[in-house]
């Protein structure tokens, strides 16, 4: 076979060009350049076209990765886009922000020594090309349905569900408390990972497709859940989880200790040119300061890299475990280090020191104890290892928990778990309230964007089925 693929034995892995670290610090633009056409095709051609494609298996969306890699290698980008978008509502976003090293690329079978196929970059290339070439068109459903669906939350889960429902011809309304649609995509994730117009063109397309966005709209304030249920034939709760997980150590109440999301939203809003008083008064601006970020996840990475761009004097990331055991993406750590972030591994905060505002962080050294039954090693403090590092602004990036939705929505009848996530039937994704579905982080707890998209799509399927049944009953 005149095979264009299986080139991993002769072609080396090559990521798209990364901008020089110094250059990157000057702005909030993305770090990676785009593949050129040949580069994408060549990298895609490294795919082994496996009989059991582990990339596909380990993709929450079940993206047909080998198939669109093949199409890309063969230069059939329009087909590739069609293939990619058939399982994913926002491939260019997943291509940018998915932790591929833990999902598809991490399971690529040529990875053993050859370094995986650069799946994410190719995915991004395919979809960006589709936008550039005008292949991405607004949705025109074959038939218009009368039934409508209200979706609470314009994040990835909500948007994915909205698109799938709209394709089937339903009337879709999205409610979000922020002034822009996109949820964490737009306010949680910094521009150097995901430039804001990338999100904007997706939400814009949905608007052009006939989806109605109700922004600055807070359930519980502007309408109750009951109001929405009255108005729509089905509701999807896709609020995400926004309550920051706290840290209980002495001095945590000092000023200049902020939660990660507040810090990131401020920065992102500034990027849009909005006026953000808390930033402008210096509270949320890292410029010229010694910054300490507590946590080792992707949010912590976003914070440290935002801080270096704001012109911090120094940026430290303090994490309990070591490099091999951190939850954040390896690639992100590498990027951060290049940009001048200092990682303080195996350290835990003991206290924040200062009078009214934080001046230093006192920490102790940690070591990894015996592995538990799952093989994970729990960290434990090393006695007498306390030391102190200077700090003008501390950012807590320790994860997120659900807000109290029944209270917030004025809907005590909505059942939630003891962790605050919405209780759903996992087959139908319906909550205890008929016609009220839930998807994304608010069901599974803080997780990845890609899982949110998957949940949104699954919920849309269930909602379609539900609406069809309702219609049949009504008829």
């Amino acid at each position: 076979m005149a095979e264009k693929l299986l080139k991993f034995v002769s072609v080396e892995q090559q990521m798209p060009v990364k901008r020089a670290a110094q250059k990157r610090l000057d702005d909030f633009n993305e770090v990676y350049a785009e593949f050129d056409h040949e580069g994408a095709a060549e990298q895609a051609s490294r795919c082994s076209q496996c009989g059991v494609p582990f990339c596909h298996i380990h993709c929450p969306l079940g993206n047909n990765i080998p198939d669109w890699l093949r199409l890309t290698a063969e230069g059939r980008l329009e087909d590739a886009y069609e293939m990619a978008t058939s399982t994913n509502n926002m491939p260019e976003i997943c291509g940018r922000i998915c932790p591929q090293d833990r999902l598809c690329e991490g399971n690529c079978v040529i990875e053993k020594d050859f370094n995986s196929v650069t799946i994410g970059s190719v995915e991004k290339y395919i979809a960006d090309t589709a936008w550039d070439k005008g292949w991405v068109k607004p949705i025109t459903p074959l038939v218009e349905q009368e039934q409508s669906v209200g979706i609470i939350g314009a994040g990835p889960a909500g948007l994915a569900a909205a698109e799938e429902l709209r394709k089937a011809g339903f009337q879709v309304h999205i409610y979000d408390r922020h002034d822009r649609a996109g949820g964490l995509l737009v306010y949680g994730i910094p521009g150097f990972k995901l430039e804001k117009d990338v999100v904007g063109r997706r939400t814009g397309r949905l608007e052009q497709s006939g989806i109605t966005f109700h922004l600055d709209f807070e359930i519980g304030r502007d309408a109750s859940l009951a109001d929405l249920r009255e108005k729509h034939d089905a509701i999807l709760v896709a609020t995400g989880v926004y309550r920051a997980r706290g840290l209980k150590v002495p001095g945590v109440g000092l000023s200049n200790i902020h939660e990660a999301l507040d810090y990131l939203i401020a920065s992102n809003k500034k990027s849009f040119g909005d006026s953000v008083p808390e930033f402008e008064n210096g509270n949320l601006d890292a410029e010229g300061k010694d910054i300490v970020v507590i946590g080792g996840g992707d949010t912590a990475m976003d914070c440290v890299r935002t801080a270096v761009r704001q012109g911090a004097k120094s940026v430290k990331c303090v994490y309990r475990r070591d490099r091999d055991n951190m939850p954040g993406s390896v690639r992100e750590v590498q990027n951060a280090e290049e940009e001048g972030v200092e990682f303080v591994w195996l350290s835990g905060p003991e206290a924040f020191v200062g009078d009214d505002k934080v001046e230093a962080v006192r920490a102790y050294k940690m070591r990894l104890g015996a592995p538990d039954s799952t093989g994970r090693q729990a960290p434990e403090p090393v006695p007498g290892s306390t030391y102190t590092m200077g700090c003008d602004l501390a950012i807590l990036a320790l994860g997120f928990e659900p807000e109290d939705l029944p209270a917030l929505f004025g809907a005590p009848e909505l059942r939630v778990t003891r962790w605050g996530t919405v209780t759903v039937d996992h087959q139908s994704m319906m909550s205890n309230l008929k016609g009220v579905f839930a998807a994304g982080d608010i069901v599974r707890g803080a997780s990845l964007v890609v899982w949110a998209i998957r949940d949104g799509r699954d919920a849309a399927e269930s909602i379609k089925k539900f609406l069809k049944e309702q219609k049949a009953v009504a008829a």
Partner: protein, 1502 residues
């Protein structure tokens, strides 16, 4: 007619009597002057005594499979008898009827006599009376005696005084009426062996040599005849059936008719017109021409007879039924071509291995099939006899008396006219026949499709965009189909290739939409007949498709001017349209769609309508039917075209209309060659895959086919399908599409019995399955997806490679990791999670529908036999070093040796260093050595370094096909082991060229048991319908182990449709083999082994209950070593270093023997746990105990039935053991070597040189083989100097002379030798020359048989005379000089030198990739015979090579005293310019010396 059936079990369990095969030895003796003599009879009897080894003996040790002789009626003998009873015989010939009558039931016997007499008298003839034929029952076995009929002769006077021809024809009608009468009166046990005024048949169930003892008539000195046709049968079954002994009325047949199903079907249609022309008022009496239940040979005989009785003579009938391959032979004279063109247009060829000896009373003929797959040697003596037989030497003739010795070539015939006393050689008889009629006039002006006015211009596409997409969805096509199947068809003009077998559910178990072709499994040849090599031997094959045949087989004289002939049944859109327009008023287009809202019987109604419309059209004279499913819409769904075609073809056949029409089919689903084959097999004349073509148009427009324009793309796609069709035909041994058409040469897997009976009669369907209602439901579901789902995107697929939400794959991603983690960490709990995970998948295999009947009380686990005991039953199946990396291959062997289990070497040899344990104690020597069709590295040494030899007859991934190791995988190491050249592609032929028939397999087993006197012999078969009877034959051939492989296994590359659609699950095959062996009383003689997807203890226990004693675990053991099912084995890019020869990739291998050992320990432990639950202590106690299994699911709701009961039937009594009880291997008789070894003690004890001398006969086979084993074991394969021991032999040596002979042994034969001389020659020297007293010219006569030097690796052969067919096939190192050879010489040769001092047959040097050949070409015909696809032919142009050639000829002359060789040398200057030098193209630049002394004459590169 076959009234002995009551002794044969009818279909029981999976056994079906229709599956039986038989084969044998055959021959004739005749007086050249046509004068009857005693000598002829005596020589016939003598010949039968010399072919016992070609037959077989029943389990009772005495009952033979049958033998018989057909003789002229000795008029005097019977006249005397009549006189003795007091009558005076009248003038004219006495007719004699030889009858088998019921013996015990006297009233039935009387009924038969009454019927016989009544019919004779009704025709106006008178009866002399009955004669009880004397018999001596002392020589027959128990079974034969129990079923022995009363044997009597009835003698009839030609009282009407009609001429002989009329008398014979009326006797034929009388016999047919008698047969009908007996059937009508419901009497069993009656059979009329012969009823004729010319010939009589003595036959029965005894061994050949006992014929004349059983029938003392034959010893009577007054018993004379001018001819004797004799036959020794070897049947795969042992149910005694006296009537099935041969000869039949007119012929004796050695071989098998592969096209039998199609032939018999078409005969139903032919006979209607034919009978009325030839038999007028009696036409109803002779129908059906082929009686129900007739074997292939009996059917051929029946048709042969009716053609003769219709006025054709025997030579013409042979030409019509079993023609020579002609359409690709440019060298054939025009008159012969015209004759074959005519016969081809009246009758579909009866194809298959066939050596025929036949007579019509006046003519005696002997002939071969088009491929020359059976041996037929003949001798003409100076004292006036013609002696023909499967072997030379069956009738001992002093060489002084020999006028001529010859061998028949492919399609050839010799004939003797007894009236004229004239003998005709092959070309003489063809000249005579072709001149007898103006065939040329009858077949002129056949037109081709290119001449039609509407053919011109570009190819056409019909549907585009969303319309196309929607139609594709409705047809169940996917993205995968287009990318993985369709794309390569265009790009490579070949079928797509895949790897690692099939792990998806059987269609009947799948929840997905699977088109109907998925339920059809292709037939393939194994053991009883060979597949054809569609790549290297395509000259004998043809896809030519005719529109407008002669209306019946007796039609002569009507001209066929303008009849249309296509090169292939595969039509493009343009061709379809051109045909519809061309036939115009004669064409009827029939819509094959049905209304979506048509209710429950919509599909059935549509099928009825199609039949009705078609029948009306044909009766109104529209002779070309065009069926299409194009007319779909949101309201109309497609009728599966396979159903429409099968239903219509069957309907037209039954009504005698099929030969009046063509049946052209257009199908949306049709995409791969398999689908085409199913349609043609169901009866389609032509097939057009219009939607596939439209998809190609769409892709071509997108630029996916490079620079090919649309028309070129279609030509390439059609070429790919043509090649695929040829391959599908060839794998079941069929050469010509017209004999395949309408034959339903498939096995249904999961089709309802009722559906098959109606639409595809005759096709086996063992487990039933989906019926019309289910099909309608699935079609409508799929139709709904296309027309009622909002999205219009093609599904991703997932049938070949896993995709989420699509087809299940047993090798699930998570489970692969789980298993690897379990064996890597020695964690049994994890293994159990894996095993449970597998079990919880939706059903994939038949066994997933079965469960155990657990015992009330188990036994404690400690009481169950140990892991160590159980592990000995495990095998890692043959995976060749070449496919696998050295590391992976050795790891398996080491692991298996550590646990006392067995690994199979696979094809391709093993390095000698592995034969002794390594320093660390690891033993990498595979205990089982494989012998496959390529015979790579199969030397005497290799064969002696093992405990067991496995003959791989077929492999699960692609039964009936050859293999290929691409050049880039042939590293230095691989090349050394395989005796070939690095970088040069190696090909294994589809058949073993020494197994074309069951008695050939017996011979190979015999040879192997000689070369290794201790090893057991295993025969590897692939599960398919009828495998049980094949296995019985294999058991009777003295195999010790039979391996039943499932369809789903296999590493390495195979065509995708072979992986998916050939072979059946082992569950069915294993159960059938166990049942049939038990029925035959053969089960205790063989060990049964199975493989194909066995992964867990549960699989092992189920296999045991179905009859297996040993278990092969292939893919799972690869997974344990790190295989992650990338399924790119054919690409040499295996990322885990298992299936690759690439240095860098091999470094990535991180498998270990420990991991493999862990896997087998886990499987054994799980097996123990199940045994404990079942309350059984030893695995042995559940083998064959199907009562411990029960079906727990009948499959999905839409199926008619899914009935696994046939698998679970117990054919023996309860409690009967189903295990092999042989302590040692099954013994085979000694040959001359026993004496030789005895006589040569001084060689082995003291290393002395010796010379031995013996007289030999053809019954002494494999001379020198056992002796070579002794040499190898004592001195090593090269331990003695050449010619250390010389053995002189006088006479005709039996088959396999000098097989695997090693250095130090020299065999010199004065006389001749049979097939397989020097098979696997491993360094020995063989010389065969005529005796000193012979007066004939050696170069004009045949001295050695077929398939000489097959797989030879080194050594020398000199033969002063011609060799038979397939000379030096797969020779990889021997040097040979002969004086001529038959067809397919030097095929697949990869090394060594062949010097041929005379003419060669067709297709010389096909697939030759190494070595060199020199041919002396006196008549300048060589260039017509050579197949120069892979070789370069040039004149001698290098002093070096000329010198080398001369040396070979000198040595030949010195060894054989050949006068011909001497003549050439003496006239060298004149003769040298008539030599050709043949060198493989790939070798040109690799030779140690260039082929020309002038640099400019050397081609740059291949």
């Amino acid at each position: 007619m076959n009234s002995f059936n009551e002794h044969v079990p009818g279909p029981i369990g999976l056994y079906n009597p229709a599956d039986e095969h038989s084969s044998c030895g055959v021959g004739l003796v005749a007086a050249l002057d046509g004068r009857p003599s005693r000598e002829v009879v005596l020589r016939g009897i003598e010949a039968l005594k010399a072919i016992w080894h070609r037959g077989a003996v029943d389990a009772d040790g005495k009952t033979g499979d049958g033998a018989g002789i057909l003789l002229e009626i000795p008029q005097e003998f019977f006249r005397e008898h009549i006189k003795a009873t007091g009558h005076e015989p009248s003038k004219g010939r006495i007719a004699v009827g030889m009858a088998f009558l019921p013996r015990v039931d006297l009233s039935a016997q009387e009924t038969c006599r009454t019927i016989v007499e009544t019919e004779i008298l009704n025709f106006g003839y008178t009866i002399y009376g009955w004669r009880q034929v004397p018999v001596d029952v002392s020589v027959i076995g128990e079974k034969a005696e129990a079923t022995r009929p009363e044997i009597e002769q009835i003698m009839i006077a030609n009282s009407k005084g009609v001429d002989d021809e009329t008398f014979e024809r009326e006797l034929y009608i009388i016999r047919r009426r008698i047969e009908a009468g007996v059937i009508a009166s419901q009497v069993g046990d009656f059979y009329m062996c012969s009823l004729s005024s010319r010939s009589v048949i003595y036959k029965g169930l005894f061994l050949a040599e006992q014929l004349s003892i059983f029938y003392p008539d034959l010893l009577d000195d007054s018993y004379v005849s001018s001819y004797a046709i004799y036959h020794q049968r070897y049947s795969t079954n042992t149910f005694p059936q006296w009537w099935l002994a041969q000869p039949f009325r007119m012929l004796a047949h050695n071989g098998e008719i592969n096209t039998i199903r199609g032939n018999v079907n078409w005969m139903k249609s032919h006979q209607i017109r034919m009978a009325s022309i030839a038999f007028g008022d009696n036409s109803e009496d002779i129908k059906p021409v082929v009686p129900k239940g007739a074997s292939d040979s009996a059917a051929l005989d029946a048709v042969f007879e009716v053609m003769v009785r219709s006025g054709r003579d025997a030579p013409m009938v042979k030409t019509m039924l079993v023609p020579e391959a002609w359409s690709n032979k440019t060298s054939m004279p025009q008159a012969h071509r015209d004759m074959y063109a005519y016969t081809n247009s009246v009758m579909e060829p009866w194809d298959g291995p066939a050596a025929l000896a036949a007579t019509d009373g006046r003519w005696i003929i002997a002939g071969l099939d088009r491929n020359g797959l059976r041996p037929m040697r003949y001798t003409v003596t100076n004292d006036g006899f013609l002696i023909v037989g499967s072997e030379s030497g069956m009738v001992v003739v002093d060489e002084e008396d020999v006028r001529e010795k010859g061998a028949l070539g492919p399609g050839q015939m010799v004939a003797l006219d007894l009236h004229e006393g004239r003998f005709y050689h092959g070309n003489e008889i063809k000249d005579k026949l072709s001149a007898a009629q103006p065939f040329g006039e009858w077949v002129t002006d056949l037109s081709s499709i290119e001449e039609l006015p509407d053919y011109k211009g570009e190819e056409l596409a019909s549907y585009k965009g969303d319309d196309l997409r929607r139609r594709q969805i409705a047809a169940g096509l996917s993205h995968e189909d287009l990318e993985l199947i369709l794309q390569p068809q265009v790009m490579t003009a070949k079928e797509a290739i895949g790897s690692m077998g099939d792990d998806t559910p059987l269609a009947v178990l799948s929840a997905q939409y699977r088109n109907l072709s998925h339920y059809f499994r292709q037939n393939f040849s194994q053991v009883t007949n060979p597949p054809i090599d569609s790549l290297r031997e395509h000259r004998v094959m043809s896809l030519k498709t005719r529109f407008g045949n002669f209306a019946n087989v007796l039609d002569e004289g009507h001209t066929q001017a303008g009849a249309l002939v296509l090169d292939s049944p595969v039509l493009s859109n343009r061709e379809w349209q051109a045909l519809v327009k061309h036939f115009d008023d004669a064409a009827e287009v029939i819509d094959c769609t049905f209304e979506v809202s048509g209710g429950a019987s919509a599909l059935r109604d549509a099928l009825n309508r199609i039949r009705r419309e078609a029948e009306d059209a044909v009766r109104e004279g529209r002779g070309h039917l065009f069926l299409t499913d194009q007319n779909i819409s949101s309201e109309r769904a497609p009728v599966p075209m396979i159903l429409a075609t099968g239903g219509l073809h069957t309907h037209l056949i039954e009504n005698g209309l099929r030969t009046f029409t063509s049946l052209n089919v257009r199908s949306a689903e049709c995409l791969d060659p398999h689908y085409f084959a199913v349609l043609i097999g169901a009866g389609a004349t032509t097939v057009n895959a219009y939607l596939a073509q439209d998809a190609i148009a769409d892709r071509q427009a997108k630029g996916l086919f490079g620079d090919f324009n649309f028309t070129e793309c279609i030509v390439r796609a059609c070429e790919a399908i043509d090649q695929g069709l040829l391959k599908i035909l060839s794998k079941m041994g069929i050469s010509v599409i017209s004999s395949y058409r309408g034959g339903n040469n498939f096995e249904a897997l999961g089709l309802s019995r009722a559906l098959v009976a109606e639409f595809f009669p005759g096709m086996p369907t063992k487990i039933s399955g989906i019926g019309l209602a289910g099909i309608q439901q699935k079609v409508l579901e799929q139709h709904g997806k296309a027309f009622f789902d909002g999205t219009c995107s093609l599904p991703i697929g997932g049938l070949y490679r896993y995709r989420r939400g699509s087809e299940v794959h047993a090798h699930d991603g998570q489970l692969i990791h789980l298993l690897q983690s379990a064996v890597g960490s020695d964690n049994y709990a994890k293994y159990l999670t894996y095993s449970r995970g597998l079990h919880n998948l939706p059903p994939v295999n038949l066994r997933d529908l079965l469960d155990f009947r657990r015992a009330e009380e188990g036994v404690p686990l400690e009481g169950v036999e140990s892991i160590t005991q159980l592990r000995k039953r495990f095998i890692t199946p043959g995976m060749s070093l070449g496919a696998l990396s050295k590391e992976a291959h050795e790891t398996l062997a080491i692991a298996m040796n550590r646990i006392g289990a067995k690994s199979v070497s696979g094809e391709g040899g093993e390095d000698k260093s592995r034969y002794t344990p390594y320093e660390n104690g690891d033993n990498a020597n595979s205990p089982i050595k494989q012998v496959a069709s390529g015979r790579f590295g199969v030397t005497a040494e290799y064969l002696n370094a093992c405990e067991e030899l496995e003959i791989k007859v077929a492999q699960g991934a692609k039964p009936g096909e050859g293999g290929q190791l691409p050049g880039f995988k042939v590293t230095d190491m691989i090349a050394k082991l395989r005796h070939s050249t690095p970088g040069v592609t190696l090909i294994s032929p589809p058949p073993h060229h020494d197994i074309y028939s069951i008695e050939d397999l017996a011979q190979l087993i015999y040879d192997l048991k000689q070369i290794n006197p201790r090893a057991k012999v295993c025969v590897k078969l692939v599960s398919s319908a009828g495998i049980g009877t094949i296995a019985a034959g294999v058991a009777k051939a003295h195999a010790d182990v039979i391996l039943i492989s499932g369809h789903n296994g296999g590493t390495g590359a195979s065509p995708q449709t072979s992986i998916k659609y050939a072979g059946t699950p082992w569950e069915i095959g294993l159960a059938e083999v166990n049942q049939v062996l038990t029925l035959n009383g053969l089960r205790h003689r063989v060990t049964l082994r199975t493989d194909g997807g066995i992964r867990t203890g549960r699989d092992v226990v189920i296999a045991a209950m179905l009859g297996a004693e040993e278990f092969g675990v292939g893919t799972a053991s690869l997974v344990a070593m790190g295989c992650i099912m990338v399924r790119q084995c054919h690409s040499n890019t295996c990322p885990v270093g298992i299936c690759t020869q690439d240095e860098a990739l091999r470094k990535k291998f991180d498998g270990s023997a420990e991991k493999v050992v862990n896997l087998f320990s886990f499987i054994a432990e799980e097996t123990r746990e199940i045994l404990a639950e079942l309350g059984v202590k030893r695995l042995e106690d559940i083998i064959g105990r199907t009562e411990l299994l029960h079906q727990v699911s009948r499959g999905a709701d839409h199926l008619d039935d899914l009935d696994l009961n046939p698998l679970l039937v117990q054919v023996g009594g309860r409690g009967q053991k189903h295990i092999c009880t042989m302590e040692e291997r099954n013994p085979v008789p000694d040959t001359l070597d026993a004496q030789m070894i005895d006589d040569a003690q001084a060689v082995f004890s003291k290393g002395e040189k010796m010379q031995l001398t013996y007289s030999v006969q053809n019954t002494l086979r494999a001379i020198g083989t056992r002796f070579s084993s002794e040499i190898t074991r004592t001195f090593g394969m090269t331990g003695l100097k050449p010619d250390h021991v010389t053995v002189r032999l006088r006479g005709a040596a039996g088959q396999s002379l000098g097989a695997f002979a090693v250095q130090g042994l020299k065999l010199e034969v004065a006389g001749d030798a049979n097939d397989y001389v020097g098979k696997g020659l491993s360094g020995g020297t063989i010389v065969v020359r005529p005796s000193n007293r012979a007066s004939f010219n050696s170069q004009d006569n045949t001295i050695i048989g077929n398939t000489v030097l097959y797989g030879a690796t080194s050594g020398k052969l000199f033969a002063a005379g011609k060799a038979g067919e397939r000379f030096a096939v797969r020779n990889s190192g021997a040097t040979v000089v002969v004086e001529g050879c038959g067809a397919n010489g030097c095929e697949y040769m990869t090394g060594g030198t062949a010097v041929i001092l005379g003419g060669v047959g067709d297709n010389f040097g096909a697939g030759m990739t190494g070595g060199m050949a020199f041919i002396y070409d006196a008549d300048g015909s060589f260039e017509e015979h050579v197949n120069n696809e892979s070789v370069l032919v040039s004149r001698l142009d290098s002093a070096y090579w000329e010198e080398a050639l001369l040396k070979h000829i000198e040595e030949h002359v010195a060894e054989t005293h050949s006068r011909w060789g001497m003549t050439i040398m003496l006239n060298w200057e004149a003769k040298r310019s008539q030599f050709w030098q043949v060198v493989p193209k790939e070798m040109i630049n690799r030779l140690e010396h260039p082929i020309s002394d002038k640099a400019e004459n050397i081609p740059l590169s291949a």
